[in-house]
Amino acid sequence: MRESIIMKIHYGTALAAVALVAVHILMRLTQGFAESLEYDSVITNYKFLPYAGMLEIILILLSIHGFNGLRVILLELKQGKTYEKAVSYGCVVAMIALIGYGTRTIIMVNTGMT
């Protein structure tokens, strides 16, 4: 994929994540900060499908943005065909692994498998 397209994705995921993370943080502040982190409150949040869906979208957006950012930093440090491929594929694998792990949590709690 062309770097110009990757950077557009990078910026797009950033803007979308800013909006959704703001909602995620505001949800913590609608109750007291400590109460919002209580077990029952968190479970209720996960079981509310629109909120769980938003968490999944945030997970995907931030994983793409974060690991692409890491890839950019690593490519600024060193260049070379093998190195660049290793970094790019490594970041994609790490991104997929993190999305998979986070999605597992969201699905299991949302469906009551706790």
Binding site: M7, L29, L59, L62, G66, I73, T105, T114
Partner: protein
Amino acid sequence: MTNQDENKEGIGGMINPRRYGIERVAYLLMRLSGLGLLAYFIGHIYETSTILKGQIGWNEFLALTQTNAGHAILAIVIAMCVFHTVNGIRVMLGHGGVGVGKPARPDYPYIPASQNIRHKMGIYSAIILAAIAMMYGLAVMFGE
């Protein structure tokens, strides 16, 4: 080829904030905050997965974060998040050609048009907003 390699400063050159003014500091802070936020994000995904261990597992892990050190780390995360967001928007606008000035003939003392007061104000605003957000976060966390 050997000379070229010797002239490469590597990570030391990348993180050196003493040259090129506030723009270089912003460049460094952007990368540091990005790496910090990625580390926090991975930790946060792991932290939230402890809810699968039931109420006891969740409370045990939550207790680790509800300490003075945990609150201080979260305050730093808030600051990194705000700086990364505000400075990121500045960078995006700059890449889009907003606020970078008009192209002109390079004359002595060769000050780049893009490194102007608007972008410098953007960087300083990002730092000030990050500090304010961090203070607010500390007030919320320690105020309870």
